[in-house]
């Protein structure tokens, strides 16, 4: 497990090539996500799929809020749409988001997981199924244990795993629950996670 990522330097051991990034966050997640995604340049080419726990109201402004703050396109995930490169997708409130084996998205209203719908575990586990080792999973701040099982599955299938350092997270329960279940490749503060995402794209594309 590495605990810093200073950016692209000759001393850095090589990162694996991935085709997609999945991100999960709960309490404190809006600020954390903004911080890491703001580092992404225009024409960033990896797709990013995110679950952020929000109240289950019918329409969420998440995509709009992030779109005005980021250089990359942002949208709420629609059922059966094909994942486009360089786009940030948010799971819709009240629906689980899954990735199918043909890299399309599907929504469902199965039971809540850890009282949450969308659930991070469901996104991460289905993403691991679809992408295998060509996937990076990032788990951030949160006050419950959603995502722990999912990120362990990503690791089990050979993907790259990143957990926010709980000491620096607004709510530490979620990263800590993940650490209790598996040892991630990286345990990082937010600025380093941003640099890592930039570097992952440089390698993959």
């Amino acid at each position: 497990m590495r605990t810093s990522f200073p950016g692209s330097t000759p001393e850095q051991p090589a990162l694996p090539a991935v085709d997609a990034i999945v991100v999960g966050a709960s309490a404190g997640g809006v600020e954390a996500l903004l911080k890491i995604f703001r580092t992404l340049p225009k024409r960033y080419r990896l797709p990013i799929l995110a679950v952020l726990h929000v109240p289950e109201q019918r329409r969420s402004q998440l995509a709009e809020v992030f779109a005005v703050n980021l250089a990359i396109p942002v949208k709420e995930a629609d059922d059966k749409e094909t994942i486009e490169p360089g786009t940030l997708y948010f799971a819709a409130p009240g629906y689980h988001l899954s990735i199918e084996n043909d890299f399309s998205l599907s929504l469902s209203q199965e039971e809540r997981v850890h009282h949450s719908r969308p659930s991070i575990d469901i996104l991460f586990e289905s993403a691991a199924d679809a992408y295998g080792k060509r996937l990076a999973g990032v788990l951030l701040t949160g006050a419950n244990s959603d995502g722990a099982r999912g990120i362990a599955r990503i690791k089990e299938y050979g993907g790259l795993t990143v957990v926010q350092d709980p000491a620096q997270a607004l709510a530490r329960a979620m990263p800590e629950a993940a650490l209790a279940l598996h040892t991630p490749d990286f345990l990082l503060p937010l600025p380093d996670i941003g640099s890592l995402l930039v570097e992952l794209e440089r390698i993959a594309c």
């Binding site: 019918r58 629609d78 059922d79 059966k80 749409e81 819709a92 629906y95 899954s98 990735i99 199918e100 084996n101 399309s104 599907s106 929504l107 469902s108 209203q109 199965e110 039971e111 469901i122 586990e125 289905s126 199924d129 679809a130 295998g132 080792k133």
Partner: protein, 273 residues
């Protein structure tokens, strides 16, 4: 891509076995969800492998009926997405009133919440008496529950809030009798309702209809099966008939996109072109 995992092979075989033996066709359901449902069923059956579940289901029809309860997803509530029902009341009902009689198909009615919501709305608009509602589902246990019209009392407070937001004109409690922990719905609401077993995956159209409501069913289908369902709806609907979908369901990625016009796009209400 990586080699197909053992569990994926077993899952395909199970789904095929169910189709061949019981004619329930889950082959074109969204894979990720089916996989989770089967994993959940395995834990409930206390079995280790999907192959073991297949063995059980093949030789024991009652085990299949049990599995079916896990494979179908009975998440429903009355007047779910109240603004959707408000839009039906305001935008669709005035047009439905121009028909001498109305046939409505509620496809995938599950345990009946959508049926009673629609019946209440139609009664308040003076349409229920000249409407026939076909309420269909693949799960016989859900249909049985829908026919009874008995729902848990603890949900009524939430349903009442939905009802009011949906433009309800009376007191929601006028529509049911409370008994112990249950709300028994007024049986006159279902006088013109026919509950029937029907599969969007294997069955065909059974009637001409003026309105079809199919909400939060199509998300469990892959594109191919979604298109089959849209085809049935298109065939069943009369000229300029109405199709209403769930809040995150859309015709946009379907081959039928150009055969329907959005009437209230945000509420997923379409009209046959």
């Amino acid at each position: 891509m990586h080699q197909e995992r053992d569990a994926d092979i077993e899952l395909r075989l199970l789904i095929e076995a169910i189709y061949l033996k019981y004619s329930y066709d889950f082959r074109d359901y969204s894979g990720a969800s089916v996989k989770r449902r089967v994993a959940h069923a395995l834990r409930q059956f206390e079995l280790k492998t999907i192959s073991a579940l297949q063995e059980r289901v093949m030789h024991d029809p009652s085990a299949f009926m049990q599995l079916l309860q896990f494979l179908t997803i009975p998440v429903s509530e009355m007047f779910r997405d109240p603004t959707h029902f408000l839009a039906i009341r305001e935008e669709v009902v005035p047009l439905l009133k121009t028909y001498p009689s109305v046939k409505i198909w509620i496809a995938g009615c599950s345990t009946g919440e959508e049926v009673y919501s629609m019946a209440i709305l139609l009664r308040e608009e003076g349409l229920l008496e000249r409407t026939i509602i076909y309420a269909t589902d693949i799960n016989p246990r859900s249909l049985e529950k829908a026919k009874q019209g008995i729902f848990s009392m603890e949900n009524m407070r939430g349903y009442n809030e939905n009802y009011l937001k949906a433009g309800g004109k009376r007191l929601f409690s006028e529509y049911y009798t409370a008994a112990y922990d249950y709300a028994i719905f007024d049986k006159t609401l279902r006088e013109n309702v026919t509950f029937a077993d029907h599969s969007l995956a294997t069955d065909s159209v059974f009637s001409e209809t003026q309105l079809i409501s199919c909400r939060n069913v199509l998300i469990y289908f892959n594109k191919k099966l979604q298109d089959r369902a849209f085809g049935l709806f298109h065939e069943s609907l009369c000229h300029r008939g109405f199709l209403v979908l769930g809040s995150k369901e859309t015709l946009d990625f379907s081959g039928y996109k150009n055969k329907f016009d959005p009437l209230v796009k945000l509420e997923r209400i379409y009209r046959k072109s």
